[in-house]
């Protein structure tokens, strides 16, 4: 009997969804907006992550080595820094490479190139570019360097550390990243709550139209689950249809917007992102739709079934 009841509930839910065309259409439209908001939150999150990741990549601390230092000393320092838990990578730029890069950067400036030739040697020292795992960790790397290789002091192989100059930028970036992440979470939660409330009210309205039917079902002695079931199925169907619509609509929308805004966000093209993460997006949008639709129906019908 249970299987028969489940079959009947699904059949009735499908039939109600199709026959209550206008109500279903309005519920689907509201849910399309809801799911679009959820999709935008996902895309915004991806853009924010990508942007912050790129900004992090661009931050490092350059340690300039004195020209008198021998390579073994530099490599020892490099190994020590690499062993610090805060450090993600250390890039060694030898004096020769530094000179080469310098010449490359100033290849248009003949005066500088001529001056370098006159010096008859390499005036540049080697450098270590240190990248921390998180921007907040640069300070502890600086402390390590200060304690072991105080910059500019006699006997130290470090000439300068540009941390102080970058410190302000790093701290600012740190604040932006933290604020961005917190803001992202708050906005996501707010939008999801807001969209669920809007959907809930639309479905409540749809349910209000059916309140006489619910009363009749009660009067013929239908069990609560038998009354509720078809409404939950119809709610889930609102979710299925609207999620499929959103997944289809996102294709042209991201195709149009993606290239236009990619330059603003370190070349992240939303269209490519959508295609690459389609499986994940499908699961999130599809199941969010089903959940929001069925949950809203559940809440909405509950108030009509309070009485015996």
């Amino acid at each position: 009997m249970l299987w028969v009841n489940i079959k009947r509930i699904f059949r009735t839910g499908f039939v109600n969804f199709l026959r209550n065309g206008v109500v279903s259409l309005s519920a689907v439209l509201v849910m399309v907006v809801t799911l679009f908001i959820i999709s935008s939150v996902i895309f915004t999150g991806a853009l924010l992550d990508h942007t912050l990741e790129n900004l992090r990549e661009k931050v490092d601390v350059s340690v300039n080595i004195v020209t008198t230092a021998i390579e073994d000393e530099i490599l020892t320092l490099k190994a020590q820094v690499e062993n610090l838990p805060e450090v993600e990578s250390v890039k060694y730029i030898s004096a020769d490479l530094a000179l080469e890069q310098y010449k490359e950067r100033h290849k248009e400036d003949q005066k500088i190139l001529a001056a370098l030739d006159e010096l008859n040697g390499n005036p540049l020292g080697a450098a270590l570019n240190i990248k921390a795992k998180a921007p907040s960790q640069y300070e502890s790397i600086q402390v390590f360097l200060d304690q072991n290789y105080p910059a500019g002091e006699l006997g130290s192989i470090i000439e300068t550390v540009n941390y102080a100059r970058k410190q302000e930028a790093i701290e600012k970036l740190n604040l932006i990243i933290n604020a961005g992440e917190q803001f992202g979470i708050i906005v996501t939660v707010l939008f999801v709550i807001l969209s669920v409330v809007i959907t809930l009210n639309t479905i409540r309205l749809a349910m209000f139209i059916s309140k006489d039917e619910i009363r009749i079902m009660n009067l013929v002695g239908a069990d609560r689950s038998y009354i509720k079931g078809p409404f939950l199925v119809a709610g889930a169907l609102y979710g299925v249809v609207s999620s499929l619509l959103v997944l289809i609509l996102l294709y042209p929308v991201t195709f149009y917007i993606g290239p236009k805004i990619s330059t603003l966000f370190f070349d992240l093209n939303l269209f490519n992102y959508y295609l690459q993460n389609f499986g994940q997006m499908f699961l999130i949008i599809f199941f969010s739709g089903i959940f929001i639709g069925a949950f809203s129906s559940f809440i909405a019908i509950h108030q009509y079934l309070k009485k015996k």
Partner: protein, 226 residues
């Protein structure tokens, strides 16, 4: 079979809808409850259907106090009582066949039982050819016959009809009353509320007259005296 024991109903706004009602309905009786609007007829029916609870007193079905029942027992009770209303109360998004089948599904009947019984009751109320029409496509008399078909399809012990002819013309009223008589002859208890004098005189059965929430007359082979 049904016993109202000193039932009083006072609504939140202090309106007294029923006052000290005691009433016994025996199996296979045909009872008409008459009275003006506001006399308490519908409240009495709602008490029996557990749509309203008494402020004082009890309502028994067999030996059970129906307002003391759990939700699941109330559902079982409602499946034993077929209900018919003045406004038909059909499910507007279901066709005639589905409206009747729904009552059977709610009672846990199998698909085979539904497939055999629904056409049978449709034949009984003369609506076999309207099986796939929706309520909006039917006349008032046809809607009421669908409601009757829905009420009798589970072979209930009791049929409760609240002003079933209130929205019908004399010809349809006559037809509906003939159907009720037929149902009663087949062994079902019928409780009918009405203020249609012609209906009462045509039936010639027990008549209970209500006024201001009280039973003022209980006549075993009564007539409607205004």
């Amino acid at each position: 079979m049904i016993y109202f024991d000193k039932v009083t109903k006072i609504y939140d706004d202090e309106t007294k809808a029923l006052e000290d009602i005691s009433l016994k309905v025996e199996p296979n009786e045909f009872i008409s409850i008459v009275g003006h609007s506001g006399a308490g007829k519908t409240t009495l029916i709602k008490m029996l259907l557990v749509e309203e609870s008494p402020s004082e007193g009890k309502v028994f079905y067999g030996s059970s106090d129906i307002h003391d029942m759990g939700r699941s027992d109330v559902n079982k009770l409602r499946r034993k009582i077929g209900t018919i209303f003045q406004d038909f109360r059909l499910l507007s998004h279901k066709n005639v066949y589905e409206n009747i089948a729904f009552a059977m599904e709610a009672a846990g009947k199998t698909d085979e039982e539904i497939e055999s019984d629904v056409p049978y009751v449709l034949e009984l109320v003369g609506l076999f050819d309207k099986a796939y029409s929706f309520p909006s496509e039917l006349s008032g008399g046809e809607k009421q016959r669908v409601a009757i078909a829905r009420a009798i399809v589970n072979q209930p012990d009791v049929i409760v009809a609240d002003e079933p002819t209130g929205n019908l013309d004399p010809a349809n009223t006559y037809e509906i009353i003939q159907i009720f008589k037929k149902i009663h002859e087949l062994g079902t208890t019928v409780i009918l509320t009405t203020h249609n004098k012609g209906v009462i005189d045509e039936l010639g059965k027990r008549v209970i007259t209500m006024e201001d929430g009280k039973i003022v007359r209980d006549d075993p082979t009564g007539r409607y005296e205004k």
